[in-house]
Symmetry: C2
Subunit: 122 residues, 2 copies
DNA sequence: CGAATAGTTGAATAGTTGTTCAACCGTTAT
DNA sequence: ATAACGGTTGAACAACTATTCAACTATTCG
């Protein structure tokens, strides 16, 4: 999902103390793939439509049409975003007749959003 | 940062039960502006370079050049992303001679990243 | 002073992303 | 069977975003 950029020569003069800081900084850095997984995860929450969907279905499962009505959007747009949420396992669904009811896949999702809300209100 | 889409007519047939579901869904939905603030906040974390910076400076303040060396990127690219982190008050800095040392603005940032890491490892 | 280094910035470009539109599939009801 | 509805999908387009490049500021040092 993103390009890899590694092992480019630093452009600044590297005194001993800085070399030490760089060494320590590298040690704190997670694996590249983990960094990408993490940013991809946050990207899912970085869209107001997807957040809206998560809030809407939090507590009561809803079908696509009703989610679209709640958000004031087309079924298609909502369905596209539900696909993203599905792929990241943030929602689960079950079909009932012509309807597909979506709900939060677990309470973990709620936690993450609440933590962020806390930070914002300050 | 995003377009507003509201009060579009729902396209699906609205039986009474669905009207009730929609009503409840709307009640759970936060204010539009709050939804945008929240998604904007997550967007900041939705980039591996910015996450890398946050991990790198977590624990020890670092100057731009050293951050660039840790990540294997140019100073310019790092500086651009530091600006985003500054604007969202996730980092603070102080100048020492020619260097600008950046550090995490508070422990809240750490918490949020850890919560997400928990969710991913599963 | 002038040269060198650290950092910032704006414009340009390439890549990504969200919504729309139209076509499609599956289920239900006539 | 066929029409109608709920939902999904792929292509296209517009808007956005991250990196690069070059130019710039500020500070230090000779």
């Amino acid at each position: 999902m993103e390009n890899i950029k590694q092992d480019i020569l630093p452009e600044c003069e590297l005194h001993e103390e800085h070399l030490d800081l760089i060494e320590r900084g590298r040690a704190r850095l997670p694996e590249t793939t983990e960094l990408y997984d993490l940013s991809d995860f946050f990207k899912v929450f970085g869209d107001s439509t997807r957040l809206g969907i998560l809030f809407a279905i939090d507590g009561a499962p809803m079908c696509v049409c009703d989610i679209a009505a709640v958000l004031g959007m087309t079924k298609s747009a909502v369905s596209h975003q539900l696909k993203v949420l599905r792929q990241n396992r943030l929602v689960k669904y079950n079909k009932v007749g012509k309807n597909v009811f979506y709900e939060l896949s677990d309470d973990h999702v709620r936690d993450i959003i609440e933590k962020a809300l806390e930070h914002i209100e300050e």
